[in-house]
Symmetry: C2
Subunit: 703 residues, 2 copies
């Protein structure tokens, strides 16, 4: 057991605010504890001498040793009790009391003070506003919920106490068992990451599942979850996904909703399997807690029912799994064990008159095949098929071959007993073939998570000092927006840019243009002009002798359309002409939870409208950068489809990584766009740049 062992395996539990008043939370907790808890129960309440037959103490200091203190006193008293606890050996505390950050300003201040005390006394506090904690290992139910879970290997964290009470009775009916359960409440002290860490090391936990509305510290979460998922799968429902939901979530327990795209990316990078409904959460948990991982993605469907078999096959086709191609040997063997009218290809149809033994023969034959990583048994009820016997057969084959099997014994009452038998051996049974496939898919997803290698981000040799100098100039500009005049920033980080200079008179413009080979591009440089082209602030392909007059023209146009704009000059830039080139975008947004999110995508207005982009939380390693390129839909074109020369993928990969390094090095960069980054077979060129700098954080950028 880890740091939080006292929370789940206490030898004694103190209930501070214990009472025998009917319908009270204090009584409910005490009764739950009395029902199944193995350890000592210590009621604390200055106005009682006995509660429900137990001796009651006036304060925690007067009470015998308490491993875990559960507080159900009024909000005002909570801080006092924490002070008292500071004097005892108690370190694990659950604050059930509400009336903290979730309920206005006064509550928020109170929560602040609670945190200070946690720090001061070294307390590990769950809550406030928590339903409590449970552990089936020792019968601990320190909650005021109406149900206790059955024993199992799923550990469950929830930001909503109601979510726990809503699922426990149902889960019991479904024979889904739990190891530890915690209702996080307001997460003033302990949060989701603490429990991931705790359960990741806990041999009693096979799967961690959770309901979250927000993640407090994305960076810590990502790091911890990556480690934990090497051994233990994590499945989460992140609620508040949609605008409507996020609004609801933030009025609930005061969670601050990060942007959905950041969560999607962050959870994916963390190796978390995401569920989008209660049903999915438990379907995935059921598969992950009872079944071995499949070695390959090939699935065999064995069925006595044409239609449901096709539905399972469709679901496999929709998933990341695939229908296994059975070997010739397998189909020959199937021909031996099945009647002539049966289908000996995948899906294997053992046909309507099959009994459990025929199912068993077919199942055994497909499981022998190396192409088969997992099997789904789909059956419709018939007069000749005994479901109990079929369940036994499935378990037999499951144990013989060690490959995951999911069952789909359709029917109502007649499938019930068989279902119980299957579940007892970890084989989930679903009425709907689509859900059976989703369960298997979760296993495959987890195998991929375990097998992935996360490479260390490359550290390129860059000129940080020069970059910092460029950024510090941002203070001069309105809104701290920096533009094309700061292309030096990219140069400092080794990102290729065309030759360019910002000039402030027509003569110098001509001089610079002459020094550059070929025609040039001219762009207005102004922190106030965001759409340069729209107001005539850009000229492409200007010859040397036109440059001076073009300068006057550009400045005049900008003055006409935006009289108030500060004009810093005009950029004279080499005209990039690479064959088979494509405009892309690379950029960064800083997310409050997860930090710098790097974006790569195709440029040009049509493709931008189609939003064909890939996102990762920085820092980004080489293989992740490559994944980003492959992830966009138009990737085949960059890779050379349709008779085009492939773009210089290595150069794009490096640019993404160098940009990642830049935004990690400088927390003062709030957002950044390189648009376009022109990519071509011969390399890449960053043509335009804009970024916003948080000048208050410039100090934090240490060169």
């Amino acid at each position: 057991m880890g740091r939080l062992s006292a929370l789940f395996d206490p030898e004694s539990v103190g209930v501070v605010g214990a009472t025998d008043r009917e319908g009270s939370v204090g009584r409910a907790i005490l009764e739950n504890l009395q029902e199944t808890y193995d350890g000592e129960i210590v009621p604390v309440n200055p106005s009682r001498e006995q509660v429900l037959g137990l001796e009651c103490y006036s304060t925690v200091t007067a009470a015998p040793a308490i491993d875990l203190a559960v507080l159900v006193v009024p909000p005002d008293i909570v801080l006092e009790v924490l002070d008292d606890l500071g004097e005892t050996d108690t370190r694990a505390v659950v604050v059930v009391t509400a009336g903290f950050a979730e309920s206005g300003e006064e509550g928020a201040t109170r929560e602040q003070r609670l945190c200070e005390r946690a720090e001061r006394y070294g307390l590990e506090i769950v809550g406030p506003n928590s339903l409590g904690v449970m552990s089936t290992a020792n019968g601990l139910n320190a909650t005021f919920g109406p149900d206790s879970p059955r024993e199992g290997s799923i550990s469950f964290l929830s930001q909503s106490g109601a979510f726990v009470t809503a699922v426990l009775e149902w889960a019991d009916e479904q024979r889904i068992g739990f190891h530890h359960v915690v209702s996080l409440g307001n997460k003033a002290d302990l949060d989701e990451t603490d429990f991931l860490r705790e359960w990741g090391d806990d041999p009693g936990t096979d799967v961690i599942i959770g309901y979250l509305e927000g993640i407090d510290d994305g960076t810590a979460f990502l790091e911890t979850a990556r480690e934990v998922t090497e051994d233990t799968p994590i499945v989460l429902v992140k609620a508040g996904r949609t605008d409507a939901g996020a609004q609801a979530a933030s009025s609930h327990t005061g969670a601050i909703a990060g942007s959905e795209r950041a969560y999607e990316t962050g959870l994916e990078q963390a190796g978390v399997i995401r569920a989008h409904s209660v049903q999915e959460l438990f379907d995935f948990a059921r598969a992950l807690s009872g079944l071995p991982e499949p070695d390959t993605d090939g699935v065999a469907v064995v069925t006595n029912a044409g239609g449901p078999g096709v539905l399972a096959t469709d679901a496999v086709g929709d998933s990341r799994l695939e229908m296994a191609s059975l070997s010739a040997q397998t189909t020959d063997r199937l021909a031996d064990v099945l009647p002539e009218e049966a289908t000996r290809y995948n899906p294997v149809d053992v046909i309507g008159d099959a009994n459990a033994d025929r199912f068993g023969d077919a199942l055994e034959t497909v499981l022998e095949d190396d192409a088969v990583g997992a099997a789904i048994v789909v059956s419709a009820p018939t007069a000749v098929l005994g479901y109990d016997r079929l369940a036994e057969t499935i378990i037999e084959k499951h144990e013989d071959y060690g490959k995951p099997i999911v069952a789909c014994l359709m029917g109502g009452e007649r499938a019930r007993a068989a279902e119980q038998v299957l579940r007892g051996f970890g084989v989930p049974n679903f009425f709907d073939p689509t859900r059976a496939v989703a369960g298997l898919e979760a296993l495959t997803r987890y195998r991929e998570i375990r097998e992935r290698t996360i490479d260390e981000p490359t550290t390129f040799d860059v000129d940080r000092e020069r970059a910092q100098k460029v950024l510090s100039r941002a203070e001069r500009y309105s809104d701290n927006r920096v533009g094309v005049e700061s292309m030096e920033l990219l140069e400092a980080y080794g990102i290729p840019t065309p030759a360019s200079e910002v000039v402030s008179d027509p003569d110098r413009a001509s001089e610079v243009a002459r020094a550059i080979e070929g025609d040039v591009v001219m762009k207005i440089v102004s922190p106030d002009v965001s759409h340069k082209s729209d107001i005539g602030g850009v000229r492409v392909g200007v010859s040397d002798d036109e440059v001076a007059s073009a300068y006057e023209d550009i400045v005049a146009r900008v003055r006409t359309y935006q009289p108030d704009a500060t004009i810093l000059g005009v950029q004279i830039q080499e005209l990039v002409e690479m064959e088979d080139s494509t405009e892309t975008i690379v950029g960064m947004n800083r997310d409050p939870q997860f930090g710098p999110l790097v974006v790569f995508g195709l440029g040009g207005i049509f493709v931008e409208t189609l939003e064909d982009t890939a996102v990762r939380v920085a820092p980004i390693g080489e293989s992740e950068a490559r994944d980003m390129i492959d992830e966009i839909q138009a990737s085949p074109l960059l890779r050379g489809a349709r008779g085009r020369e492939p773009a210089h993928i290595d150069a794009i990969t490096e640019t993404i990584q160098r940009l990642s390094q830049l935004v990690v090095d400088f927390p003062s960069i709030l957002e950044l766009d390189v648009n376009p980054l022109v990519v071509a077979p011969e390399g890449v060129q960053a043509i335009d740049l804009s970024l916003t700098v948080d000048t208050d954080r410039l100090e934090g950028d240490e060169p």
Copy 2:
């Protein structure tokens, strides 16, 4: 009752092949009939005098009048029995016997003969290879399945008999009742469309649901379903969606799988609501059979449980529904009836200590609000909330306000009784908030289907004779592929094309180019060259004096790269230069089930790779053509986003319709591509064309 009344409401049922042999299909059917059927049962079997206590007749001609004959005789005997039935008054027949088209060549021939007899004697035949038919109105269970359905208003067709047996017992447990059930078998005679027509007129059917692997006649289906869905919703699972599934489906009952995109489009245009799993099929059916349609898309969520409330809100955000904005009056009233800590905005959180009355007050208040079209009640179990009382409250409000309410009373056993009460009044209860929202969404989807107007396709004044002349030339070309030399085809149908001519020598090329204003585009004309640009067969922006040498050059290149290509000449085409223009594609593919599928999408290789297209089955009316333009993701750009002039939407709309008219007029056109169709603010221009003609069908094109 309709044409098929004898199938579902017979006064007598003959079982041909009736037997008392244990475990036989003939006995199973007879027993099912004996169990609940109101009418007369007539066993027919030449080798029995009595079967299960009923008098048995040697032939159908010797038997008393039979309204519905169920055949369970060996395959060879089926045709003889049909001949006998031809002499009687019997017209409704179910052929349970297998061994027809699903089982090889001999069976296919047998099925052919069965169809001939259906035609000859005017028989209405279900099957062969059918499980049978059921009607709960008169207790008819003429199947060999193990279960009988409970009474209800859902009529159910299935191409898989096993699918029927797989769901019936489960549905009974879920208190889902049926009116008619038919297992379609091989659909040799009667198919899905016949039953849609029948049940569309049937007052006992509120919802039609089905499991299909293929649709026999897409055009008839589309037409019938459009009509039926004006009054009766249709929900279908179309299995064999994925490549893997389609392969499985076609080995099952010999269904020919149409392309998935065609089905998707065809079913959508038909007004069919598509389900993607068994669970969805019944979730939708449950909502559609018990609840009224909502007037608006606004949904109110009333909950005592933060987390589950957020999940419901997320699901609403993901759906086509929206969270209703409650009026100030409503929130004021909520403030009156709810405690201070409750949330009086949507989702309305009545908080954990709410009893059923408080739920009722909140529910009543939100239902009063015109912005609320439907409500979802989400509850976690608590000590103070009685689920039975809550169910009664919900039903009370449901009846008072006539607005649809879906319940999500979470929990296990304790929710069971309440669930039964709710279902008894048509209010579905789901454990998972996501499913509750999906149920409501089906109602909204059906409202949209009922409200939509399908406008008659415009008939443009075109030159059919000229078009036909162009098409008839296709016979001369290899593979009957016609290219840019036939732009006249588009002209004949009033689709704008640039000035052009196909020439076969350099001098004529120069002459033509001079007659065209500005530079020209030159393209090789050859039925054998499919990627003209790739081999240097296209030159853009050629000035008049370069034309002759460009001609020689193009021909030489094509001869080098494709020495065997037949060269018909070179097209000299006006260079289209429209400001703010965009390349699009408009084309057609002929689907074996649904006929001509017209496609509109953006062109250019990047956007083609992103597959941003809209599809419709022709003929296409004006509003459908407009919908196609709006449906593509890049539509905002055509409509003038990002500072662009909007494209000439009317011209695009007309071009889509004219193309639709062309491909409907000429069934000989197998596929056709106008790529690109350049669209701009001033209009459209078809730049390039290719099509394939079925020269055997040229006769069918009547000008």
